[in-house]
Symmetry: C2
Subunit: 122 residues, 2 copies
């Protein structure tokens, strides 16, 4: 739908394949949210991601569902309720992202440290 002709390979390596699934401004955050809370319905998920539009949230969720990362359960009630949760693959992907997250935290520290240096220099 949105992705470049539904990319999905051919991949030249594992990182390429993983990136294909995880890039998109919000995917890693959705992964994180769902990993923390287990199951969330659409509206709650949206409130947990300040700044995201409904269009983007749906779009990313649909792609993640296609990619087997997310389960979508529809309750035919009025008003409608839809719940999202991680599949086993989604959970393992989130686990695989953890070292990268740790690296990123260190990077943030370095950036802040440098800002302090610059500040006191002027």
């Amino acid at each position: 739908m949105t992705r470049s002709a539904d990319r999905r390979g051919p991949y030249i390596c594992g990182i390429d394949a993983a990136m294909d699934v995880v890039t998109g401004k919000w995917k890693s955050l959705i992964l994180w949210e769902l990993d923390q809370h287990g199951t969330r319905r659409f509206g709650v998920l949206k409130r947990g991601l300040p700044g995201i539009s409904e269009k983007m949230l749906i779009q990313q969720l649909r792609e993640m569902e296609e990619d087997g990362l997310v389960d979508r359960e529809v309750f035919r009630e009025v008003p409608p309720r839809v719940e999202y949760s991680l599949t086993a693959q989604g959970k393992s992907l989130n686990a695989a992202l953890r070292p990268l997250g740790a690296w990123g935290k260190e990077r943030i520290k370095r950036i802040k440290a440098r800002m302090v240096t610059v500040d006191s220099a002027e």
Copy 2:
């Protein structure tokens, strides 16, 4: 230059910060190439990344240099020679990407397995 107003934060979490530095169609591959071979000059690096244009290679290398991932050493000779290598940060980022790469390899396996199933079904 190319990046959204030089992004570089503010970041909402570590993954966000790491992704900012690693997204771009070629960056993780450049990281991998330099990690494997230690030091490469421009032309060799290019031949190691079939399909990349010179513009993209330079652009990505410059951003990675700005981000402290890559060292660039210029030898003032004729003809010119420039060598690229990973900094300590670049190396540790590459290490942090390894679990993601492993996850991606598993994903590729699953996709292939599914293709076989589909093939034999028709």
